[in-house]
């Protein structure tokens, strides 16, 4: 159900008056720059290419949208620009330089210019040891967060129920389908 409609219905049902501020809050929000000539805000050209490559390798397009379809690489750049302080940003840039060097070494040539198969193989070495690599773990976490916190995935791919109205502890999973969007 459309969220605005669900809110209105629940308010009516329960005799609650919703203030304008509460309802207008769901109109604003976080939109990613989708222009053709995006210039990264904080990452160097090569590090931004690494983020783009990671988005495509970790959350590729299948019968559901991939991270790049939702511009998650740009979102990572924007989140870093807004939320990383100078110290974290510097550590991240440096860590990404090292991560690229490791990936290049795993392939024996430039990771960014390698084939998809080569990239997957090189990434798998890092990914299998994710707990040892803080920068990779952090970037992967932000990419996955960026994907699932998007409106397209949150409302249309996952099972979305803005106002459940009840809690039932045991129901057949088949009736729900994909995992619940919200928790």
């Amino acid at each position: 159900m459309d969220r605005r409609e669900a809110i209105k219905q629940s308010a009516l049902l329960m005799g609650v008056t919703m203030s304008g501020a509460v309802l207008s809050g769901i109109l604003n929000g976080c939109t990613v720059d989708t222009s053709d000539d995006y210039q990264p805000l904080v990452f160097s050209g090569e590090n931004f290419r690494l983020i783009t490559a990671m988005c495509d390798l970790i959350m590729p397009t299948t019968d559901t949208p991939g991270a790049l379809d939702l511009y998650v690489d740009r979102l990572v750049d924007e989140l870093a620009s807004n939320s990383f302080n100078a110290e974290i940003l510097e550590r991240t840039q440096k860590g990404m330089d090292e991560l690229r060097a490791q990936l290049d070494e795993n392939i024996g040539s430039s990771f960014l210019d390698a084939s998809r198969e080569e990239q997957e193989e090189a990434l798998r070495v890092i990914d299998n040891n994710i707990s040892d690599n803080e920068i990779y773990r952090s970037l992967k976490g932000i990419i996955i967060f960026g994907y699932f916190s998007s409106e397209e995935v949150g409302e249309n791919i996952m099972s979305y129920d803005p106002i459940p109205g009840k809690f039932v502890g045991c129901i057949p999973a088949s009736g729900v389908g994909n995992a619940w969007s919200l928790r």
Binding site: L23, G25, F84, G154
Partner: protein
């Protein structure tokens, strides 16, 4: 300072002053107003009316920066963010640490919000009664001082407040966790039901129940019921959980006796040595910096354990040179919290065809089972309970695990494996050395001395934590969970956000600050009924006990006024 002439005194005079509008202040306001007292509530922050909850319906994609705090927001809230749960959706309920500084001789997480309703908007809503065992423990074990009251003194007041708060829960008949006035309990999910059955079969004396939560499962006085959105902490437009804003303050307002003055930072209680009572309070207006005095026959301090104690420490007079009611020297001492963040978690193979619907704002509870008998052999006193929940894992749980690509992505879109996690909440003993005090030189921008903390866990808490981890793991393993791991994220004092004990109750003015009715020893028309009054901490969440003590003390104050005793 404003010169108050005769007319000014009349204008600023009320029957009662309540300092603070949080969990306990809201109750004091309601009770005093309903009993006919013209009451002014002095709230140090901005006013928030019920319904003014700007993020209540926002999903992450509606929020700027997807709800992630900016670098500047993190810097301004550098202590409040220590909990890890403060994001853009609730940042407006937590103080700006740069404008509201405190100091730490030892680390202390003082997590709070300055606005109408205070932490009643952001609390965890778990409501458990204290038991007779809790009130007797200090005396039996010779620890600190005896409580001046017993369970029978507070039991009717629990009944009274629970009926108005609205608490969903299951009666169990356990002496260590007395039953209360409950609405119908929330449901457990499939794995929780399974684990409950196994624990109760494998470990006689251990029980698991659904949390007792101040979320309405049935409509009550025009509030609720719960819509199972699990966004309580943002403020509930349906009024489906207890907050001062949704529940007690509207009741107080309905009487016509309530005046609520926001931006009113109380700096001290004015003591009158002639009458041996307090005559009012002095505030500084948060915005204009004007100093104003308010007068009343009875004063309730409900500014939080730390806030109320800071006001009393700052209220110096010839009679009380070390702070109001501080003949004992205990004011600011015996600071307690609950220690937690230790427990166990594991995954469950099976039940893949089972799921749940709705987002339950509540978990399960395993009541205390250690040290219930006299002959117990543990190397610590008191005990702990567990809070937890089972769920099907989603991307939140696996983002830091290996895996990528098409199959990985598809697996994140589907419901993941079942898993369950339980966290112990342990009692902390009252130690004289654990304290807060006022800095002798440093003040905040309103001229109030800065609070300094010097407190930490000791051996009894650390010994208890071993059991808190091991017992959690053995119960989950016995329930058939796999890959069970004990976690210990090291609890910092303050992080439980259950500050208690800094103006404790006790019969003897030489060892206690408050008497058995929450009156200040030596200033009987001043009542302190927030966490400051607690003589020990139990292991259960304290808010419902503050509410019951507040209702009881309000009743006492009105009776004493009628008799002309205060």
């Amino acid at each position: 300072m404003a010169n108050i002439n005769g007319k000014g005194i009349a204008q600023n005079s009320y029957d009662a002053i309540v300092v603070g509008s949080g969990v306990s202040g809201g109750w004091a306001a309601k009770e005093l107003c309903e009993k006919g007292l013209k009451t002014i509530v002095l709230e140090r922050g901005r006013d928030v009316k019920h319904g003014e909850y700007p993020t209540a319906f926002q999903d992450s994609w509606d929020m700027e920066n997807r709800g992630v705090l900016t670098a500047e927001e993190n810097a301004r809230h550098f202590k409040q963010v220590r909990t890890g749960f403060m994001k853009k959706d609730k940042i407006h309920w937590f103080v700006d640490d740069k404008r509201n500084p405190y100091q730490e001789d030892k680390r202390f997480d003082w997590i709070r919000g300055y606005h109408t309703g205070g932490r009643s908007l952001t609390w965890g809503r778990q409501c458990y009664r204290w038991s007779e065992m809790d009130f007797e423990a200090n005396a039996k074990e010779g620890i600190a001082i005896d409580w001046p009251i017993r369970y029978k003194d507070i039991a009717p007041w629990y009944d009274y407040v629970e009926g108005f708060v609205g608490i969903s829960g299951q009666k169990m008949g356990l002496p260590q966790l007395p039953d209360g006035v409950f609405q119908k309990p929330m449901d457990m999910n499939c794995l929780e039901k399974h684990v409950k059955e196994r624990i109760e079969k494998e470990f006689p004396g251990r029980y698991m129940t659904i949390g007792r939560s101040a979320n309405l499962t049935e409509a009550l006085n025009g509030r609720g019921p719960c819509q199972f959105r699990n966004r309580c902490v943002r403020g509930c437009p349906y009024g489906a959980y207890f907050s001062s804003n949704s529940t007690t303050l509207p009741a107080a307002e309905n009487t016509g006796n309530l005046t609520l003055r926001p931006y009113s930072i109380v700096t001290e209680v004015i003591y009158d040595s002639d009458s041996g009572k307090a005559k009012g309070v002095r505030i500084v207006d948060q915005q204009t910096r004007e100093s104003i005095e308010y007068f009343a026959s009875v004063i309730f301090l409900n500014a939080s354990a730390i806030g109320s104690t800071a006001i009393m420490l700052n209220s110096k007079s010839d009679r009380f040179p070390d702070g109001l009611g501080n003949d004992s020297g205990e004011l600011g001492h015996n600071l307690m919290d609950h220690h937690f963040r230790i427990g166990a978690a594991g995954v469950f193979e099976g039940m893949e065809d089972q799921y749940y619907t709705g987002r339950r704002p509540n978990g399960i509870y395993i009541p205390r089972f250690r040290n219930l008998d006299e002959g117990s052999d543990r190397n610590y006193v008191r005990g702990f309970g567990y809070q937890g929940r089972a769920r099907r894992m989603d991307w939140n749980e696996v983002a830091d695990k290996p895996g990528f690509g098409a199959e990985f992505k598809d697996s994140l879109i589907k419901p993941g494996s079942w898993y369950m996690s339980i966290t112990g909440f342990g009692e902390c003993l009252p130690y004289h050395e654990n304290r807060m005090y006022l800095h002798k030189d440093k003040t905040d921008e309103w001229g109030m001395p800065v609070v300094v903390f010097d407190a930490g866990w000791k051996q009894n808490e650390l010994n208890m934590r071993i059991d808190m981890g091991n017992d959690a793991a053995e119960m989950l393993e016995a329930s058939g969970l796999k890959d069970v791991e004990i976690f210990d994220y090291h609890s910092t004092i303050g992080e439980g956000i259950h500050e208690m004990g800094t103006a404790r109750m006790g019969d003897d003015p030489k060892t206690a600050v408050l008497n058995g009715n929450n009156q200040v020893h030596g200033a009987p028309n001043v009542y302190v009924t927030d966490g400051a009054c607690m003589t020990s901490a139990s292991c259960v969440n304290p808010s419902i006990t503050y509410m019951a003590l507040t209702a009881r003390a309000s009743n006492h104050a009105v009776e004493e006024l009628k008799k002309g005793n205060i």
